[in-house]
Symmetry: C3
Subunit: 395 residues, 3 copies
């Protein structure tokens, strides 16, 4: 009674036709960290693999296995989270059987995970309740820590585009913790044990206190990505291949990042994104939507240089330069010479360009060089005559 790959496909089709079945946006199996005092508090969910708009066969296997294990999956809600039971694993393995021999390396990772879980030695210290199967059916307000992490994984792995996900509710869902390496620790647990830990020299080295973990605690970047300090990239950020993040003033928040090779020595605030070949100079600030701005996400084009200590609060096009120290906010009044207007019109056909513009008027205008005239203090824009090119050695 062999079960072949064809049988597998037939079975998946069957499952997908069932009335209760609903195709998820994303799903995966996670190991969770729980509170030291409050075991019901999920502090972190670690996914070895996330599936986002893909691998629907595995989704069907997982959903069917839950059903077979006697779990009622409510696919009418936006998300579903459930402990991984032996019955669930057994059912998954049964269905995945024809793929198990080839589930190695980068192939069939969902199969690898259930195989690995089924074969974990008893003494790992983890129980069934420490593993969760997680589904997101609709991109609604975040309801659970596990779904919050699944969305952040989708962003940081590059499977979901920046700004494409509904992250409402995420601050309310995640718990503020002390982090000891990759491990979240309740602040109350520290309070309860402070005297004993301190007197015996066992007080832990806390690297941060936050709701979000760090990008590098969950994501293995592309080979040509460099992050010179882990704290500089929050989980939920997205870094395209070739991106380098320096350790000075740089920072990339969640739901922000790069869309190609970018040198990052400044801040890319939440919801901001930077195009391929661009250079965010030392201390340059790209404003975000969380604090102190008008809430419009900022996009920086390709091959654009934001000079050291510049500040950008509005969209900037391709092939632009902001000189070091220059600030362009949406309302900044910028003066252009007649010659500059002509030169910019030539390469930006159809764009409205005039001798007096505001920062926000430059959306989609390419090849602009923004400067402050150091003899008059006037902020000016002109046709950029220098090509911005990243150092090929570094990206």
């Amino acid at each position: 009674m062999a079960f072949t790959k064809d049988d597998f496909k037939n079975k998946i089709e069957e499952i997908q036709k069932e009335s209760w079945y609903k195709q998820p946006l994303g799903f995966g199996i996670a190991r969770v960290d729980r509170g030291q005092l409050n075991k019901d508090k999920i502090l972190q969910a670690t996914f070895p693999v996330v599936n986002w708009k893909e691998n629907y066969g595995s989704a069907a296997v997982f959903l069917n296995a839950l059903k077979e294990a006697g779990i009622e999956v409510d696919t009418s809600k936006s998300e579903f989270v459930c402990s991984v039971s032996d019955a669930f694993l057994t059912s998954c393995i049964e269905t995945f059987r024809p793929y198990i021999p080839e589930a190695k390396g980068q192939d069939h990772k969902n199969v690898q995970i259930v195989s690995k879980l089924a074969s974990l030695p008893i003494d790992t210290g983890f129980t069934e309740d420490d593993y969760k199967v997680v589904f997101i059916f609709e991109d609604e307000t975040v309801q659970s820590v596990e779904a919050a992490y699944l969305k952040l994984y989708a962003l940081s792995s590059g499977k979901a585009a920046l700004r494409s996900l509904n992250l409402n509710g995420i601050f309310g869902t995640l718990h503020n913790c002390a982090w000891v390496g990759n491990k979240p620790v309740e602040l109350d647990w520290l309070r309860e044990n402070e005297i004993s830990l301190k007197l015996t020299g066992k007080y832990p080295e806390i690297t941060m206190v936050d709701k979000f973990p760090r990008f590098l605690s969950h994501i293995i970047p592309a080979d040509n990505v460099r992050i010179l300090e882990t704290s500089k990239v929050r989980f939920g950020a997205q870094l395209a291949g070739g991106t380098t993040v320096m350790p000075g003033a740089a920072y990339i928040n969640f739901n922000a990042g790069t869309e190609g090779a970018v040198m990052v020595e400044g801040r890319i605030s939440s919801s901001a994104k930077v195009g391929a070949g661009s250079d965010v100079g030392g201390g340059a600030s790209i404003l975000g939507v969380l604090s102190g701005t008008d809430g419009v996400p900022v996009t920086i084009g390709e091959n654009t240089l934001l000079g050291a200590n510049s500040c950008t609060g509005t969209a900037i096009g391709d092939g632009c330069i902001l000189d070091a120290g220059v600030t362009i906010l949406p309302g900044t009044k910028i003066t252009l010479s007649e010659k500059a207007v002509e030169a910019l019109k030539e390469i930006n056909p159809g764009k409205e360009i005039s001798t007096s513009m505001k920062g926000s008027d430059f959306q989609g205008v390419n090849g602009v060089h923004f400067r402050v005239n150091s003899t008059t203090g006037q902020t000016i824009a002109m046709r950029s005559t220098r090509e911005v090119k990243l150092n090929a050695d570094l990206h």
Copy 2:
């Protein structure tokens, strides 16, 4: 022969009436880290609890126990430090007896500490000399590492106000060390063992070289405080509840900090403080008194926004905005329109406001919006028309 809480109170009163008794400003019991080569060098003092202008009963118990243990406590000096002996602990426990049953959780922490110390197993690796009882009687120049730490604890725990303590002598007292996690290591010890450690792959991961430890190595922050990278807050800083410290260009030095919920993405230099509801933008610099300034501490008011990469070298009032990139030093000449003067006078009755002011003239002036006119380069001030409000999700 019961010893009741009333007996305890009577005993404390007796002690406090004795001629040698002096009420301390602060006191506590610390575990100390000593030099690896020079055991006489105290590198760090870790207090599970500090008492600052409080818990005088415990102070009396400790002082009396020292006396009973045969130690002569010189209360005429500004500070007193002494090893914790078995005799001292026995006496403390004897006196604390009526409180021992209820010394749990957040109650009677001084009692908990002596109980814990008395019951430490023999094989902890620590000896009597690794625990110190520390008193500060007068706020004078710092004389010992233990007293330096006690003062820094008083600041970082919020028990002493920022700028309220005499920290003279602190740089001379503390030793520069390599830090391996929370543990200080003498640079000379590294030098002596460099060859062996490196050849055997045991050279430690050194996270910093400094005289001061990090805030998070000693202090458990309030539940709604976030510090996204431990190096960003030096021990001796003070963070009020709701403060968030981001990992880009932020930094808070000792004897500096926040007085309410504040978003910190910039630098709060030594002696500077920031009021509730304010936002220190990415890369914003609040100048301090240690380097390159005229030594007047800077205070930032409430609900004030210091824009990204702005720089502030003088006091700023409540409800003010510095645009991104704006620099206001004490001598900066700032121009106001007649309309701006009127509008600012209206909400700042009694303040001298005119069409030409210097940065330092704005002390105590509220509701000011500082900008650079991008068509003239002129630094101007006007009535701020925008309310600065922190994102409630983040604080």
Copy 3:
């Protein structure tokens, strides 16, 4: 048959006269870290001691020992790397014999290293192939990881001057790794083991992903150097005694650094250097040669203050001040009053100083105060009237 110090000297002279002998620029013995998957990939080389234009006696001993161990050393190439064999160690020890009794502490470190290696217990987990003897004969393009590290050690230990070494090829030679403490890990190894590591809670704490390690993983700084966060100084940087590196926006890249006591709260980019007594203010940027500039290395003179969030892209002299927020690029037009021209000429005899200068004209001009006139927006230069002096407590 004693072998005395005189015998040693005679033997060295003999070796140095041999036709195959060539005096190296630098040499040393390193322990190497290899790839977890690809054992042929050298990820890091840790030298307990590096020799740079010094200790030629030890060089002769090492080269001779290699020859005696049957290794053919090709001294015609720019560098040579070879595993440390028992035969090599035996020969070294034989020749070093008269120095072995006094090889302790800071004396005869090359002798200490071979003694230590010869006496390592068998169960260290390391083999002969984990130790390499490394020579650089000519300062050519870097060919091997070991030689790359030797050059970076020469810079960071202060044995070779900043900008004095040929570092071409270094980015191509070093491998991008995840770093777990001081240990480099292949990203591919993480990928291969991600599922297992994450499910069992053993995924490592990765502190960075980069080709270069951190300065403090290899170098023990002078007693009066402070580095408040290890990520802020890349290996290959050079910090003179008295330098303090703060944890806000500071960063010092490889082949960059300080030539005396300097306060560093800003960025010293690759190839930039700063003279004694200077202060690089919070967020100040000194541009480098790797990204977004014209490739001329920037030198900052002595006792010069670069104000907070200032930006410098050209050489600045001694005793200068850049006000907070001021940007001086090579092409920045700077206006001087007649009075300022006279005052600057007086202290800079022979220098061309006029009422209209560019940033790059100020190379070698001392005592200049750069400001932006806040009533006109004009960038101006004048005679500095304030002495820049570091706080003696801090350096």
